[in-house]
Amino acid sequence: MSHELRGSSAVVGVGLAGCGEAHGRAPLDILAEATHNALDDAGLKLSDVDGIFTGSSYHFMPALSTAEYLGIKPRFSDSSMVGGSSFVAHTLNAAMAIKTGQCDVALICYGSNQRTAGGKLATMSEQQIYEAPYKPRYPISSYALAAARHMHQYGTTREQMADVAVAARQWAQLNPAAFAREELTRQDVLNSRMISDPLSLLDCCLVTDGGGAVIMVSSERAKDFPNKPVYVLGTGTAHWHRQITQMPDLTTTAAVDAGKRAFAMAGLTKDDVDVVELYDAFTINTILFLEDLGFCAKGEGGAFVENGNIAPGGSLPVNTNGGGLSCVHPGMYGIFILIEAIQQLRGGCGARQVDNPEVALVNGNGGVLSSQVTTILGTEAVL
């Protein structure tokens, strides 16, 4: 007997806008342009949208500001803010809202002008008083502490972390929309400027502009739309800490919990997954999430990502758009991993298209490894 939410809703429209540099644009401009592209993709109008799901570090009440800009008076709205993973979490909230009739057409959306606005990571976060005196660089030092502990406990090396960046770049080279596409070698990463040991510049994601939008409806309606529907099969959300110092174990994220529950809802296992999109804010993330989601044992993530295993031609396609490391990363990245997974399942990825994928796993990360949200998407064949 499958979970009542399994496959109950589907994505029928996706849109991207302003990825890279979108000069002279405010965050909501970019969000609105992505929304336009998603509506076009779905054959819908703004007046069809009755549910808004969004997150932002530019707006105190994101759903209100977004709906106001778009001229929508939603029946249901959600500004759940768990960091960059918010948009992945929104697939669960949208599925529940659609299933219970709270809305019929859910718009999940994001926009940011981080790069052209000067590059600083916008935040409305309160100061963390027990961390502030030590001036950790935010957020990189938090991830650096996790990486250092993983290296100490499991022997993970900078070379293995560098291979994550190399693999991402190789996927980006197959993606005309990716921001960084020049040749990148392991040595290039190792030689790049150290920022907060052991993480160097090329261990870090890009700083770009960008916006994305995803439109979901009930699976009953999904077949009436121009594109092949992509069904939401299972989602799990988990968070155990806010501040890095409160993370119970720096080498294990709450993805062990989120992933388990997403797989349970979907009635699938990691062996069913054809393509993986993980929130790679830093190279260590990919290693941690592959372990925590069960693609390899804890501590073996370094070996798993080495030497092209997750690159084009490797045994597991990971971050096929080029990732936050090489494709796009405008402050919050969760909407983009969703969109890439959807595009892969639709068969719309051109040179970087994975061969006939039916199941995609998306793992969003928020804060400093704080929020973990796993969603599993599938084609009709898996329903």
């Binding site: 027990y130 950790p136 030092s141 502490l145 040991d197 052991p198 993480l199 890095i244 110092t245």
Partner: protein
């Protein structure tokens, strides 16, 4: 059961913590039910959910659990250490190790707490433990 609870009167845990530091005492709440200490100080034990806490002085001893060197140009002050220290009593906190080149701080280093009374916000740093 009374609607007011004496445990919730008086200064809150942030105030109590920094008042102790100002007096030269490094102290944290210990749970009277599960006996665990926690950091950052709260009114509730995050391990077992009990509100029965009492403040106890710590030994100040700890071990470096993880460490990073924040790189900074010499003209801006130079590189500095940011680390996590696991206290002998159990909790972990963010801090820095002083008296050592930041690049020489290692996971597993035994350290001792020192109170920095810097204006009105005292905080804890660590130095290498003696005689280890």
């Amino acid at each position: 059961m009374s609607a007011t609870d004496n445990r919730f009167s008086g200064p809150g845990p942030d105030q109590i913590y920094s008042d102790f530091l100002r007096e030269g005492v490094f102290s944290l709440p210990q749970c009277k039910d599960c006996h665990e200490f926690h950091f950052f100080p709260r009114v509730v034990c995050p391990h077992c959910g009990s509100f029965n806490l009492e403040w106890k002085e710590l030994t100040g001893k700890g071990e470096v659990y993880s460490t990073t060197t924040v790189r900074r140009k010499p003209e801006r002050g130079g590189n500095y250490n940011v680390c996590h220290v696991t206290l002998a009593e159990g909790p972990r906190l963010m801090s820095r190790v002083e008296g050592v080149d930041p690049l020489d701080v290692k996971i597993g280093d035994q350290v001792s707490a020192v109170i920095k009374n810097d204006g009105d916000s005292p905080f804890i740093v660590f130095v290498p433990a003696q005689g280890v």
